[in-house]
Structures are given as C-alpha cells and as structure tokens.
C-alpha cells in the first residue's frame, strides 16, 4: 500500500508537472538559444512584457492599498453593524466564484464602447475597454480577495490589545498603525502581494476579453502566449511560457519563505 501510494505520487507529479515543464523547456530551446532569445527580444514580446509589467505594478499597488484598508475596516471598525460586515465579508469572496472570462465580460458590458457610460467616457478621451485601464480593472476584480483574505485572519489573531496599549500611551491611529499593527501584519501583506503579483501576471481570461488582444498595444505576456499557440508558433510560445514559468517558481519560493516568516 505504502509503496503503491508513493509510486502514484511520483507518477502524478512527473506526468502532470515535471514532464510538461521539461517539454516547455526543450521546445523553447528546440532551435537553440538563439531561437529562444529572438522570441523573447522580438518587439512584440518586449511590448507584451512591458504591458504585463505595468499591469502588475498598478494592480499590486492598488490592491495592496485597498485590500489592507478593507481588511482593517472589516475587522476593526466596530461602528459598522454586524449584519453589514457579514454581508461585505461574503461579497469579498465573490470574485473567486466568477469565471475570469465573465469578469472580463462584466467590464465590457458596463464600460464597452456600446454602453452609455463607455461612449460618454470615450467622447471625453478616456478609453477604458480595449486599453490598459480596462485590463487593470479586470485584473483588480480577479485579484481582489487575495490581499483581504491574507490580512484579515492576521488582524483577527493579533487582537486589539497591543493597539489599545498604544492608544493609552498617547499614540494616535497613524503611529499605532505603523509602529504596532504593521509589524505584525507585514508578512501577511507580503504574502498577499506575492499572490497578487502572480495572479496579475498570470491572469488571462479576463484580460483577453477586455484588451481585445491588440498586438503592440494591449497584448500582455499571457495573451501573447495564447496567440502564438493559436498561430502554431510553438518555439515563441514556449520561450515566453518558460520565462513565465521561471517567474512562477520564484513566486513559489518567495511564498514558502514568507510563510515561514509569517509563522514566527
């Protein structure tokens, strides 16, 4: 039983993760390093990486700020009635249940060029759908629960004692947050940041719908992978995928490290 189980474990990992990763690698380098390199330094790819970078940066910054604030509000603000807090708390999880493709569709339906709001904004020179702002919005929607759900349990666990002690010693809310609350939650926040970065970089469905996948304009690294596969450009697709997978592994290692820090 034990032998069988361990064998199955090895097999599953091998088949599902290790062999496919190896194939990405071998396919990326199937035309040698130069093929790999030219796929990556192709202007289209460079632009896609740039777009992904901007997307990740903007989404991570906004999501961290609002995620931490909302977590504080949901856990600490006693001025809001319990009912309302429970409701808000349930809403936080909704994006988990929404297919990313629907997440993108929502933004299209609300702000697309055929909607009143979208047309109005476009008349005033603000382009949201098929442009970066829409992609950021879609990614924010998808990543929203990640930060809140990391920070809330930590806040609950540390309790209010230390914060109250700081108040009785004369510290205001700003100082109390930075000197007392923040040191306790920062590893949780870091964990949330890493999750957000990974998800923002990897988000595909929502971004694909909202961006229109316009080459050299709104194409991100993941939608480019998709397009290259559709065009049967496997070397290019795998080169990009290889870089993205390498990044995911870095993310994974950071998570392991942050988890360990979080526990002490």
């Amino acid at each position: 039983m034990k032998k069988l189980n361990i064998t199955v474990t090895y097999l599953v990992f091998l088949l599902l993760l290790i062999i496919p990763l190896g194939q990405v690698l071998s396919s990326a380098f199937s035309t040698g390093f130069s093929g790999f390199w030219s796929a990556l330094t192709d202007p289209q790819a460079l632009h896609a990486f740039l777009i992904s970078g901007i997307l990740v940066g903007a989404v991570t910054a906004l999501n961290t700020l609002f995620g931490v604030l909302l977590a504080m509000l949901l856990v600490r603000e006693t001025g809001i009635s319990r009912r309302i807090r429970q409701f808000l708390n349930a809403v936080v999880d909704l994006p988990f249940a929404v297919s990313p493709i629907i997440g993108g569709l929502m933004i299209l339906l609300l702000l697309g060029p055929h909607t009143a709001l979208g047309a109005f904004l476009e008349d005033h020179g603000v382009k949201i759908v098929f442009a970066l702002p829409g992609m950021i919005l879609a990614t924010l929607f998808v990543t929203f629960p990640l930060m809140v759900r990391e920070v809330m349990p930590v806040l609950q666990e540390i309790g209010t004692d230390q914060e109250e002690a700081a108040y009785t010693l004369g510290a205001g809310s700003w100082r109390t947050f930075w000197r007392v609350t923040w040191p306790s939650i920062r590893w949780g926040v870091l964990y949330g940041v890493v999750l957000t970065v990974a998800r923002a970089l990897g988000e595909f469905g929502a971004v694909l719908v909202v961006s229109g996948n316009i080459i050299n304009k709104t194409q991100s690294a993941t939608t480019l992978v998709y397009q290259q596969v559709e065009n049967f450009n496997f070397v290019a697709a795998n080169s990009l995928a290889f870089v993205l997978a390498g990044f995911s592994i870095v993310v994974l290692m950071t998570l392991e490290w942050a988890k360990r820090r979080k526990e002490v």
């Binding site: 109250e164 002690a165 108040y167 010693l169 004369g170 510290a171 000197r179 007392v180 306790s184």
Partner: protein, 355 residues
C-alpha cells in the same frame, strides 16, 4: 489625580455590563476592584481609560469631565491583563514608546527608560524581546511601560492573573511599594479577595454591573452592606432566618424571602462546656466534622436546624465528630429590607452586666 464617576452605565446588546455606578477616589489611593467574573470590572476600567464609550453617566478627573477625551488625551497608564507588550519591540522600546509619542529628546528618553528599568529591577534585559521574558518579568515591563510617561492615573486589569501563586505574592508586595513610592492614584482589578485585601487602601465590590460596597478592606469585612458582599469577602455562614439562634431571640423577624443572616466562623465559639467563656449564652450542638485548615481547626457543628462552620484555635484539644459541644455565637449580621444590622448576643450582654 482625584476621580469621580457618576451614574456610569454601559450595555453590550442586552447585557448590562455596568449599571449606574457612582464612586469617588481620592488622590494617591490604591483601589482594588473586586468581584466575580463577568461582573463588569474590566468594563469600568476601560471606560475610565477611554477605550470604551459609556452609554450614560459622567467621568470626572480633578472635577473636569473627560467623557469626550480619547484614551490618548486622558493621561492614564493601563496595564493589560495579558500585558499586551509590543511583541516586535525590545524591552527598551516598549518602555520608551509613550515617551517617543511625547516627542521627548533622545537623551531624556534614555534616562527615563533606564530609571524605569532600575525601578523594576530588570537591568541588563533592555534588549530582550518580550517572548524572551518570564511572566513576572513581562508584568514588570508592562508596569514600567505604563508608568514611564508619568500618567496621573494607573489602571491595572488583573495584573497578576497569569502568574503562578508564589511569584504572585512577591509581585503584589512589590507593586504595593512601587505605587506608594511613585504616589500615583491607581485602580486594579482582581477576583482574588486575598490580593485585594492585602494590597488595596480601599476596595470596591462589583457584582452584576453594580457597585455593592466601597470602603477599606476591614470596613467591608466587618460591616458588609449586602449579603452578597458578606458572602463574597471572607468565609461565612449564610442562613435564611435567625429564628432559634440562642442569644438572638429578640432580633427582628424578617418576613421577606430575601432576608439573610450572616455569621462569620470566627464569631462562633465551639468547645466542651468548661471551655466556653459564657455558657449561659450558648446553645448545644453536635460536631459533624473537623478539618485542619492550616492555622485553625474548622469545625462543622449542627445546632438545631442549622449547620454552621466555626473556627477553633489549634492549641485547644481536638474535638471529635459526634461529640456534643457548646456553641456560642457572639455576633451576626442580619440583612433585610435593604438594611444591614449588626447584632450581638443579648444573653451574653445581660450576663456580663449581671456580673
């Protein structure tokens, strides 16, 4: 600082945690808040600190209303039940926290922190993190942290609850000395009556959100105002009816169900007939059990319809269960109609006069 509280009330949902509490505390006194769990002690303390908003009533410091002031501006020090030390700061930084808020200069802060560390006797541990300290040491750091910014009022919520019995005794003597040395008005919560009696200048008994009695420990022990206080502080026998107690025949006969009679064990003299100081005022009883209680024998006697616990000094001969003895009740407290009466054995008085 002189403190006054008027009609203070606080509800949590439907639970009345604090119910129309009034008291006044003189400058420099050390007050013990004593009462059963859930009585509202912590809530009173937190309202004084500004951590909880009262539903009604006024809090006055030096005659000025402070209800609207946030905790930061009340000039209080608070020692939390589980210390609430900042766990990512060293001992030094913990104690310095309140001083940095006051924007004191670096050197001033250093001097004051060292002064506090000396006061609590933890020299050399400045750079430890809280989790590297023992419970007693943490307690001291929490105390120093609260005192460092020189507050006018020190509030301590069960300061010794998490410390083992022996260290606890040392610490409370230490705390008593510290507080009188600093001369700061202090209020501490406890549900250990021995602790309250030993440490406090005055105690306040809190039960179900109400202040039952306030006074020096001796006053409260000697003249409890309510059956609750009588039963809570010290050991006692509580009976429903003083009828048939020899020596108290002419005591008022309360009719209400709520009336109570309290007899302290040390007010009962039990012994063989020749030992009793005033035999004519005594009744007869039967010893039911005898227990050694460290400094006294505790004797359970059956007198008529009552079973009473009495104390008997160790140098006297041991009584045996089943033995017939004389039982002399010197005094008792009678509570009825919201009144408390202290009655002495009347036969004894008459007899004494006759001599």
């Amino acid at each position: 600082m002189q403190i006054e509280v008027r009609n203070l009330s606080k509800k949590f949902g439907r639970v009345s945690a604090v119910d129309h509490v009034n008291f006044e505390i003189e400058q420099g006194k050390l007050i013990g808040l004593l009462g059963p769990s859930g009585g509202g002690k912590t809530t009173i303390l937190r309202m004084l600190a500004g951590l909880e908003k009262p539903d009604a009533g006024e809090i006055l410091f030096q005659g000025n209303k402070v209800n609207h002031l946030p905790p930061q501006e009340r000039g209080i020090g608070f020692v939390f039940q589980n210390y609430a030390l900042f766990k990512h700061m060293s001992v030094f930084d913990n104690i310095a926290f309140g001083l940095t808020v006051q924007r004191k200069s670096k050197s001033e802060i250093r001097d004051r922190v060292h002064e506090m560390i000396e006061l609590i006797g933890l020299q050399g541990l400045e750079n430890r993190a809280p989790h590297q300290l023992s419970g007693g040491q943490r307690q001291r750091v929490a105390f120093a942290r609260a005192l460092a910014p020189s507050p006018q009022l020190l509030l301590l919520d069960e300061p010794f609850a998490a410390i083992d019995a022996k260290v606890r005794k040392e610490l409370r003597t230490w705390l008593r000395e510290m507080i009188s040395r600093v001369g700061i008005t202090s209020i501490f919560v406890t549900h250990d009556q021995e602790e309250a009696v030993e440490v406090a200048d005055e105690i306040m008994i809190i039960n179900q959100g109400r202040l039952e009695q306030k006074g020096t420990p001796w006053q409260v022990y000697k003249e409890p105002l309510t059956p609750f206080v009588a039963g809570f502080l010290g050991e006692s026998n509580l009976l429903h009816n003083p009828a048939h107690i020899v020596g108290f025949e002419s005591a008022p006969r309360p009719h209400s169900e709520k009336a109570r009679v309290l007899i302290r064990p040390e007010a009962i003299e039990v012994g063989r007939e020749h030992e009793i100081s005033n035999l004519s005022a005594a009744a007869l009883g039967i010893v039911r059990s005898v227990q050694f209680r460290g400094s006294v024998w505790q004797v359970e006697v059956e007198v008529g319809e009552h079973r009473l616990l009495a104390h008997r000094t160790l140098e006297k001969e041991t009584l045996l269960p089943g033995e017939q003895v004389a039982v002399l009740i010197h005094s008792l407290h009678l509570f009825h109609d919201e009144q408390s009466l202290f009655l002495e054995n009347e036969l004894k008085r008459a007899n004494t006069r006759a001599i």
